[in-house]
């Protein structure tokens, strides 16, 4: 009987020991799990991507995202970009891995990236995720987006002063707005994006910049961001100033009926070179430069006393 009690007491101690052992294992696992997920980022599609440590090898498939990475001072982390990324000059030497919508999956995989930054509208993210590559989809379209995406990319790359970078950009835009003289504020502007003619309305990125500079856009927001407009509308609206990219500028002044438009008559036409046009059009960190270009155009070409214009 003494032996049985001693045996059961031994069993009891063993059970307790085993219990404590597994408890320690569990605690160790929990600790290691927390260490494995150092931080998480939720991208524009709502997918949450987790990182052990900030990625060192980055592939970017959208020019505005490329510029964002470089603006945050992390240009050297880029190992590959899409064929349309051309700013700053440093990225032009990087390997090109196809376009944003048609990336070269093999080339991307060969670069062994830690993360791929791409647009929401591309379908390639599923393919890349299936191959085990982390993908963060971000697509800035508005002024507010630029700030949001800048901060998010900063979060992904572990850059602590992303907010300061944004404040610099924002201040640049405000400075550009203040440099525009008050007498020019009532100028009515038409910004043509493409021969079609497609114009940039108030609800587009370009339109937001123009609004911030204090001028009026002949295309209202309810037409959508880039409406294909009847050229007669422009003649009727009689803008005081026309802004257009170099690629679509040819023949603009000879269009039927456009000779009577105030901007054409008084030669108030700002033609932006292709490289400059990118800064205006891309919703990215160069928006301050874009705002400055537009402000310069307004200072140079806008009428000091705007006319009453035509029917809007």
């Amino acid at each position: 009987m003494m032996l049985a009690r001693r045996q059961s007491a031994l069993g009891e101690r063993r059970r307790q020991g085993r219990f404590r052992f597994w408890l320690r294992v569990l605690a160790l696992m929990l600790v290691s799990l927390r260490a494995a997920h150092a931080f998480e980022v939720v991208d524009d599609r709502g997918v949450s991507v987790s990182f052990v440590q900030p990625p060192q090898r980055v592939v970017s498939l959208l020019p505005s995202l490329t510029e964002t990475v470089c603006e945050l001072g992390q240009c050297e982390r880029l190992v590959g970009v899409d064929r349309y990324s051309d700013f700053p000059a440093a990225v032009q030497k990087l390997p090109k891995v196809g376009g944003g919508l048609d990336p070269n999956i093999e080339a991307i995989v060969a670069l062994r990236p830690d993360v791929v930054l791409m647009a929401v509208s591309s379908r390639a993210d599923e393919r890349l995720r299936a191959l085990g590559i982390k993908v963060v989809t971000l697509e800035p379209k508005t002024h507010a987006d630029v700030q949001r995406v800048l901060l998010k990319v900063g979060q992904v790359l572990g850059v602590s002063d992303a907010a300061r970078v944004w404040r610099v950009i924002d201040a640049g835009v405000s400075a550009a707005a203040q440099s525009v003289p008050a007498s020019v504020r009532a100028t009515r502007v038409y910004f043509e994006v493409n021969q079609g003619p497609y114009g940039a309305s108030e609800s587009s990125f370009i339109g937001e910049t123009l609004t911030r500079l204090g001028v009026k856009n002949i295309l209202s927001a309810k037409l959508g961001p880039f409406p294909k407009i009847n050229p007669e509308f422009v003649v009727r609206a009689n803008p005081d100033l026309i802004m257009v990219g170099e690629r679509s500028a040819s023949g603009l002044t000879q269009r039927p009926g456009w000779g009577s438009v105030r901007a054409v008559r008084e030669q108030r036409l700002c033609v932006f070179a292709s490289a400059q046009a990118d800064a205006l059009v891309r919703p990215g960190p160069r928006m301050a430069e874009g705002a400055r270009l537009m402000a310069q155009c307004l200072i140079n070409k806008a009428p000091r006393t705007a006319a009453t214009g035509g029917k809007p």
């Binding site: 079609g196 959508g224 009847n230 679509s248 040819s250 023949g251 000879q254 269009r255």
Partner: protein, 359 residues
């Protein structure tokens, strides 16, 4: 339908086109808007009259007339194509002429510059900038010439590949091949000259957006020449519709006359494509619409198909400008809806009336 309907049909098409012209002039960036009033009463409001005058005569009138002329050219080309190949599915773009014209325009734009390169002074001074929608006569002639040459060369290539027009299947296949190959060549040209890309995109969609008086009058002139040639050559197509051997036995010099018809096809298609881009379906639908109303010889058919195509494109263009003013729909969508819808209705009506008909 008896032959007596022929003058009736011509008159109704002409009057219909006139009505559409008036309607087209009244439709603009604010939707329907009657500007005829201010024009007819200049004293009432001089400012409005000046504005109305400018809008109607500089913008809407050349554009609407241009739409008619382009539609007439495409309708004529469609009738020629369907007669030449004895195939009701033929359209003016069949022999690769559309791809050839596009390639011609792309090459001119790439070589002379889609925006960066300009002839003469800067555009600020109205120099002859080479753009797809330029108004300068020389540039328009140059682009039209390039489109025409491109169309002719593509057609000749197709004929060479199919070794003559005898075998319809081989001809159609050769046309498809040439169309695809030249289309790819156009893409290559644009790849190496991205400045022309935007201009070409606008061109490929097809629209009458910037048709001014130069383009309009050029198209009307070419149409007059083509319709005259077409009516003279119409009897060749009539003879051919009875078979090659019969046509030969009737003493028709088939070889040279077929070449003349191909030239008419290329000229009409090239001219229309150079001014308004690629507008689909008009060339295919117009001859069918005419034939559903009247059975007649090819000479008359070509004239009628012209008038029908002109009316069709004018109607489509007016609607394209009207429906979501001040925005514009692509005119090709509306030609398909209008022409296709009417053809569908005709098919249903005819199939019902022929259920008890003779074999």
């Amino acid at each position: 339908m008896t032959l007596r309907s022929l003058p009736l049909l011509i008159w109704s098409l002409l009057l219909g086109s006139l009505a559409l012209l008036v309607l087209g002039v009244c439709v603009g960036s604010t939707g329907f808007e009657n500007l005829i009033g201010p024009l007819l009463q200049p004293q009432a409001d001089p400012a409005a009259t000046v504005m109305a005058h400018q809008i109607v005569f500089d913008i809407r009138l050349p554009r609407t007339l241009g739409a008619w002329a382009a539609g007439a050219l495409l309708g004529l080309a469609g009738a020629v194509a369907q007669g030449l190949f004895r195939n009701p599915l033929a359209d003016p773009y069949l022999l690769g002429s559309a791809s050839g014209a596009s390639l011609g325009v792309a090459l001119v734009l790439a070589v002379l510059g889609g925006g960066a390169g300009m002839l003469g002074d800067s555009m600020m001074n109205g120099g002859a900038a080479v753009g797809v929608f330029s108004g300068s006569v020389l540039v328009r002639l140059g682009l039209t010439g390039a489109a025409f040459v491109g169309a002719v060369l593509a057609v000749l290539l197709t004929l060479a590949l199919s070794r003559g027009v005898q075998h319809t299947l081989r001809l159609l296949l050769a046309g498809v091949v040439v169309g695809v190959v030249l289309g790819a060549a156009t893409q290559m040209v644009l790849l190496f000259s991205p400045d022309s890309l935007q201009a070409m995109q606008a061109f490929m969609l097809g629209s009458t957006v910037f048709v001014g008086w130069t383009a309009c009058l050029l198209m009307v002139g070419v149409w007059a020449v083509c319709v005259l040639a077409g009516c003279l050559l119409g009897r060749v197509l009539d003879g051919l519709s009875l078979g090659e051997a019969t046509a030969h036995s009737l003493g028709l010099p088939l070889g040279s006359l077929r070449i003349a018809l191909v030239a008419v096809l290329a000229l009409a298609t090239g001219t229309a494509v150079a001014q308004t881009g690629l507008i689909a379906f008009v060339g295919l639908a117009a001859p069918h619409l005419v034939r559903s109303v009247i059975k007649t010889t090819h000479g008359h058919l070509m004239l009628l198909a012209s008038l029908m195509g002109g009316a069709l494109l004018m109607a489509a263009d007016t609607l394209a400008r009207w429906l979501i003013a001040p925005q514009e729909l692509p005119v090709g969508v509306l030609t398909a809806v209008l022409g296709g819808g009417y053809l569908l209705w005709l098919m249903r009506r005819n199939s019902r009336s022929f259920t008890g008909g003779q074999a």
